[in-house]
C-alpha cells in the first residue's frame, strides 16, 4: 500500500520518497497513551472515519485492556467480552499496540507531540484517594483499588498480603468497587475457584477468617453509588446474610414516588432488603455464616489501633452524619457531633480512584485527579487530547467510557478534517518512536506478543479448570514473549 502511494506521489512530482530513508509516513499519525477501553474505543472511531490514519496505542504494561483486565471482578467474565471488540481493533493493519512503554519514562509528551499529529491521553486513574485522617498509616488499612489489583493480577499488587485472619472487615465507600471487594471477601471459595482470580489471592481467601463485611458510607440509602445488579448479587450470595440498620431508612419510602426509574428501583430493592425482605432471602439467611452489613450516615474520623496486634488497625471511629436540606440523590451531609466506634481488623478504603500526571508537561488538576481539558482538548497543548477517566474523572462503566471515547473520536476526526490539526505535513510516527525506544533498550511488546502471553495464560488455566491463570509479573510476561 505504501509503495503504491509512493509511486503516485512520484508521478505527481512530489519528493522522491522511494529514495528517502523513509523518515515519515503517509496520513495522519495518531498516538494513544493507555490501552484500556477509552483508548480502544477512540482508536476504533478514528480508523473507521480516517482511512489514511495510523494509530499507535502505547501501554505501560506488556498487556492491554486496562481495567477490563485488572478492574472487572473475576466472577463477572461477561463484562470482559468487550475484549473481542478491542482485539478486532488492534488487529487492524493501521493500528499498532506498543506495550511495555511508559509515558514519562520511555517517551516524553514532547517527543510524542513531535512524532505524531495528535496525542490522545487515555491512561486512566491508577491511584486512589486517601482520607487524610489520624491513624491512616496503621497496618491492614489498604486501598480497595490495590485489593482489586491483588486478586486481579495487577503487576505490583501481588505482594499486598492483606491480613485475612480477622473476622470483621470495614469497607469505606459504597460504590461498585466497594461491593466487588465485599463480594470477593464473602463469596464461598467454590464460587471463586473456577474464575480467573489469581492463584495467590485464591490461596489467601481459602484460609480467610473473615465473617462480617461492613460497607460504610457517609450518606444515606438514596445516595448509594453502587448499582442494582451488584446489590442483587450480594442479597442472593450463598452462605451470606444481609444485615441493615432499619433506622437508616427513615424517610426513604416517602422519597420514592418523586424519583426516576433507575434510582427508584435501586432504592426500592434496598428498602425491601432492609425493611421487608423476601421470604426466600430470609430462608437462606437463616443458615448463613457470613454477613454483609451496609451502614449509612457514618463518616470515618479516625482509625484506632488494635489492642492485640501492635501497629494494626483495631477499630474505626465514625462520625454520625445527617442529610442537609431536602432529600435528593445529590444531597450533602453534615456531622452531628456524635460518634460511633466499630471494631474491625481490616479496612478497605474505597472512596474513589485518582489520576496522576504521567509527564510534567501535562496540565493537571491534582484536586480532582483529572487532566485540565475542555471537552477533551488539553489546555494549552494543541494536538493533545484526553479521554476516559483521565479526562472525565474516575466514574462510569463501559457504556460511559464508550460514549466519551466516541465523542472524543468525533472531535479529533473533525479537527483533522477541518485543518485544526495540520495533518498535511508528514510526521514519522512509530518509525521514529521505535528508534528512540531501541536506543534506550526498551523492549516494546506487540499485539502478537500479547497473544503469546494470552495463550500461555489460557494454557496454564486449562490445567486447573480456570479460564486463565494470569501472569502477574512483568518480567515473566517478557520471558514468555521472548520464548
Amino acid at each position: 500500500m505504501r509503495r503504491a502511494s509512493t509511486l503516485c506521489s512520484f508521478a505527481k512530482g512530489a519528493p522522491l520518497r522511494l529514495l528517502s530513508t523513509s523518515s515519515t509516513r503517509q496520513g495522519p499519525q495518531v498516538c494513544v497513551v493507555g490501552a484500556g477501553p477509552a483508548g480502544f474505543y477512540v482508536t476504533q472511531h478514528l480508523v473507521k472515519t480516517l482511512p489514511e490514519a495510523n494509530v499507535d496505542i502505547y501501554e505501560k504494561l506488556p498487556v492491554p485492556f486496562g481495567l477490563v483486565r485488572f478492574g472487572v471482578a473475576p466472577d463477572h467474565p461477561e463484562v470482559k467480552n468487550v475484549i473481542n471488540t478491542f482485539t478486532k481493533t488492534a488487529q487492524n493493519p493501521r493500528v499498532r499496540f506498543v506495550g511495555n512503554v511508559s509515558l514519562g519514562k520511555d517517551l516524553s509528551l514532547q517527543e510524542l507531540q513531535r512524532l505524531y499529529h495528535a496525542v490522545i491521553l487515555t491512561y486512566g486513574a491508577e491511584h486512589d484517594k486517601s482520607l487524610g485522617i489520624p491513624g491512616e498509616d496503621l497496618g491492614n488499612i489498604l486501598s480497595a483499588r490495590r485489593f482489586v489489583g491483588w486478586y486481579n493480577g495487577q503487576p505490583g499488587d501481588e505482594n499486598l498480603n492483606p491480613d485475612l485472619s480477622t473476622d470483621t472487615v470495614a469497607v469505606l465507600g459504597q460504590g461498585n468497587v466497594a461491593l466487588d471487594v465485599a463480594r470477593v471477601l464473602l463469596a464461598p471459595i467454590d464460587y471463586l475457584k473456577s474464575t480467573d482470580i489469581t492463584a495467590h489471592s485464591l490461596e489467601a481467601l481459602s484460609k480467610s477468617q473473615v465473617k462480617r463485611v461492613m460497607l460504610i458510607g457517609r450518606r444515606g440509602p438514596v445516595q448509594a453509588a453502587f448499582t442494582i445488579k451488584e446489590l442483587r448479587e450480594m442479597l442472593k450470595m450463598e452462605g451470606c446474610k444481609s444485615v441493615f440498620r432499619q433506622d437508616d431508612f427513615k424517610g426513604v419510602q416517602e422519597f420514592l414516588p418523586s424519583v426516576a426509574r433507575p434510582r427508584k428501583r435501586l432504592t426500592e430493592l434496598l428498602a425491601q432488603a432492609a425493611l421487608d425482605p423476601k421470604a426466600e432471602w430470609l430462608e437462606a439467611w437463616k443458615t448463613a455464616e457470613r454477613s454483609f452489613e451496609p451502614i449509612f450516615y457514618r463518616s470515618p474520623a479516625a482509625f484506632l489501633p488494635s489492642s492485640s496486634k501492635a501497629g494494626t488497625v483495631g477499630a474505626v471511629k465514625l462520625a454520625v452524619t445527617e442529610l442537609q436540606g431536602e432529600m435528593s440523590e445529590t444531597q450533602g451531609v453534615k456531622n452531628t457531633g456524635a460518634f460511633e466506634d466499630v471494631k474491625c481488623g481490616l479496612v478497605l478504603r474505597s472512596i474513589g480512584y485518582k489520576g496522576l500526571p504521567a509527564d510534567p508537561d501535562i496540565p493537571f488538576d491534582s484536586k480532582s485527579g483529572v487532566v485540565r481539558n475542555s471537552k477533551g482538548r488539553v489546555e494549552g497543548l494543541p494536538g493533545v487530547y484526553c479521554g476516559g477517566w483521565l479526562g472525565t474523572g474516575p466514574v462510569g462503566v463501559i457504556v460511559n467510557t464508550m460514549g466519551n471515547a466516541f465523542e472524543l473520536g468525533r472531535l479529533i476526526e473533525g479537527d483533522i478534517k477541518d485543518g485544526t490539526i495540520n495533518a498535511t505535513t508528514a510526521k514519522p510516527g512509530y518509525l521514529e518512536a521505535a528508534k528512540i525506544l531501541d536506543n534506550k533498550g526498551v523492549q516494546a511488546v506487540s499485539f502478537k506478543d500479547w497473544e503469546k502471553i494470552d495463550q500461555e495464560e489460557q494454557n496454564r488455566g486449562k490445567a486447573i479448570d480456570k479460564p486463565r491463570e494470569k501472569i502477574v509479573s512483568v518480567s515473566e510476561m517478557l520471558k514468555v514473549v521472548a520464548n
Binding site: 468487550v82 473481542n84 463501559i398
Partner: protein, 189 residues
C-alpha cells in the same frame, strides 16, 4: 433452586431445540443470560458450560430437534424486516430470521452501529439499548429484572426502552422500526 445438573440438562435440551441457523455459541450465551440468575447455579455450572461452549460447533445439527420439547418449527428464511434509526437520522434496514434477537441482526448483517452489543448479549452492559413505539413495547413480554437492571444504566432511558439482545424476532414484528439513542451512536445533541 435448580441443581447444577438440572440446569445443564434444561439448557442442553433448549440448545438443541433452537434453530440450526443460530451460531451455537450465541444461542447458548443467550440461554446463560436468561437462566443463570442464581449465583450458585452460575458458579457451579460455569466450568461445565464453558466446556459445552468450547465443544459446540458453529452450527447445530438440525437432526437433533427430536429432543426439542417444543413442536414449533422456526423459519429458516430471513423474512423479518427491521429498521434501525440512528440518532443522526440515518435509517438502516436489515432482515433477520424468526428467533434472531435484534443484536443477532446487527451482528449478522453488520449494521453500522458503533459500540452496539459490547457484552455480546450477556446482559452485562446497556449498549444495545433501543427505543420502541408504545404499541410494540406493549406487545412484547415484560422485561425481566435482569434486563431492567442493565437498562437502568442506559443513556436517554425512556418508558419504551428495551435491550436489543432481549428482543426476539417474530412474524408479528416484521417492519419493526427502532430508535437507537444518541450517546452510544451518532451525533449527540
Amino acid at each position: 433452586m435448580k441443581t447444577a445438573a438440572a440446569c445443564l440438562w434444561t439448557i442442553h435440551c433448549r440448545a438443541l431445540s433452537l434453530s440450526a441457523r443460530q451460531t451455537g455459541k450465541r444461542a447458548i450465551r443467550k440461554l446463560l443470560s436468561e437462566r443463570l440468575s442464581a449465583s450458585l447455579c452460575r458458579a457451579a455450572v460455569r466450568p461445565q458450560l464453558a466446556a459445552l461452549l468450547r465443544s459446540t460447533s458453529s452450527t447445530l445439527p438440525p437432526a437433533s430437534r427430536f429432543l426439542s420439547t417444543s413442536a414449533r418449527l422456526m423459519s429458516q428464511e430471513e423474512t423479518i424486516s427491521v429498521t434501525f434509526i440512528r440518532a443522526d437520522g440515518k435509517k438502516i434496514s436489515a432482515k433477520g430470521k424468526e428467533g434472531d434477537s435484534l443484536l443477532d441482526v446487527v451482528v449478522n448483517k453488520e449494521v453500522d452501529l458503533d459500540g452496539f452489543g459490547a457484552c455480546e448479549g450477556t446482559l452485562t452492559c446497556s449498549t444495545c439499548h433501543v427505543i420502541l413505539s408504545k404499541e410494540v413495547y406493549a406487545s412484547l413480554a415484560r422485561p425481566t429484572d435482569e434486563e431492567l437492571d442493565m437498562l437502568d444504566l442506559a443513556f436517554d432511558l425512556t418508558d419504551t426502552s428495551r435491550l436489543g439482545c432481549q428482543i426476539t424476532l417474530t412474524k408479528e414484528l416484521d417492519g419493526l422500526e427502532v430508535n437507537v439513542p444518541a450517546s452510544v451512536n451518532g451525533a449527540r445533541q
